[in-house]
Symmetry: C2
Subunit: 183 residues, 2 copies
C-alpha cells in the first residue's frame, strides 16, 4: 500500500460555514495535489412520535434550489456534544423533545472531497408543552413539519420524493428493525 503523508495545506477560500484547501500529498515519494473541503461535524435524527409517526421537514435548500424532505439535522457547535446538538436542533426546529434517544450510526457523508462527519440518531419524541417551546422565528416561513407513517416514508423513498441521504439511511435502518426503536 502507498504511504500517504500530507506535506502542506493551503487555504484557498474561507466561506465561514466551510473552508476550501489545496493539499499537497506525498504518496510513497510521488507528489500529488488534492482539493478538499473542511466542514464542521453534523448531526441528524429520526424522530418517532408516540403514535409511531416519523417527523419530516420540508425545507428550501439553496445548493439545489429546491424544497426537499429531510429529517431534522444541524451543525455541531465547536466543542458541543453531538447528542446535545441534535436535541437542541430537534427542539428548535420541530417543537418536539426526545423521551429516549440512541446513536444509530456515525459516518463521513462524502469522504472523497469533504471531512464532514455526521452523527445519526434515532429517538422516541413527545411534543414540548406550549410556553416551554423555543422555536426560532424564522422557522415558520422556511420549514414545514410533517408526520408520516414508516410505510409512507418508505413509499416516499421509492417514489424519489425523499432524496436526502441521511433521511434514507435512518428510515431504512428503522424499517429494517436496526435502529433500536421499532415496535
Amino acid at each position: 500500500m502507498a504511504k500517504n503523508t500530507i506535506i502542506s495545506e493551503k487555504q484557498v477560500a474561507d466561506m465561514r460555514v466551510f473552508t476550501v484547501s489545496e493539499v499537497e500529498l506525498d504518496k510513497s515519494g510521488r507528489r500529488v495535489h488534492h482539493s478538499i473541503i473542511r466542514f464542521c461535524g453534523t448531526a441528524s435524527i429520526l424522530a418517532i412520535t408516540k403514535e409511531g409517526k416519523i417527523l419530516l421537514e420540508k425545507q428550501y435548500r439553496t445548493p439545489i434550489d429546491r424544497w426537499i424532505y429531510e429529517i431534522p439535522a444541524g451543525k455541531i457547535d465547536k466543542g458541543e456534544d453531538p447528542t446535545h446538538c441534535i436535541i437542541r436542533e430537534l427542539e428548535e426546529e420541530t417543537g418536539y423533545r426526545p423521551i429516549k434517544i440512541k446513536k444509530t450510526f456515525e459516518a463521513y457523508t462524502s469522504c472523497g472531497c469533504s471531512d464532514e462527519y455526521m452523527h445519526y440518531f434515532t429517538a422516541l419524541v413527545e411534543k414540548i408543552p406550549e410556553g416551554e417551546r423555543k422555536l426560532f422565528p424564522e422557522i415558520d416561513e422556511d420549514l414545514e413539519i410533517l408526520e408520516v407513517t414508516p410505510e409512507e416514508a418508505w413509499k416516499m423513498i421509492e417514489e424519489k420524493q425523499i432524496v436526502d441521504a441521511k433521511s434514507i439511511m435512518l428510515i431504512t435502518a428503522f424499517k429494517a428493525g436496526l435502529a433500536g426503536f421499532e415496535k
Copy 2:
C-alpha cells in the same frame, strides 16, 4: 412558506473537481447570502459476489487523512449515464463486473452545502477473466479489495470500522432485504 429566488451566483473558487460559489437569495423580499459547493454527479455500488460476499475497498482519503472502508464509487463524467459510470468504476477498481444490477436509491449526500447527487446501485457480480481486465496501474498501491460476509459488514458498521455514509446506506438496505438481491 417563504418564496426563494436566486438573484445572483458568484464563483469564488474553481478546484476542478468542485467549485465554490456565493449565492444571493431573495427570501420573500429579504436578501440573504449562502456559500455553496457545486459538485458533479456520483455513483456507488454494493457488489455481491456469487458466494454472497460484499466487495469493500480500503483506501486512503485525503480530506480525512486516513484509510477507510468503502464500497466502490466514482464520479459521473459529463453526460455519462449513471449505470455506465458505476459499471466502469466497478470494473476498473475491483476487476468484477455485474451479472445483474439495480438502482437502489438516489440522494443528495449533503444538501445543506453541496449539490452532489449520488446514484446508489446493488449488483450481483462475477470476476472478469484475466486478460479482459482493465485495472488502472495506480489502483494496486492505493486500493485494497476485501470480500466480507453481510454479517461481517454489519459488525464493521456497529464497531465503527465502516464509517462511510454510502456504504452504511446500502449495507443496511441489503441486510433489511430492501436492495432486491437478497437470498
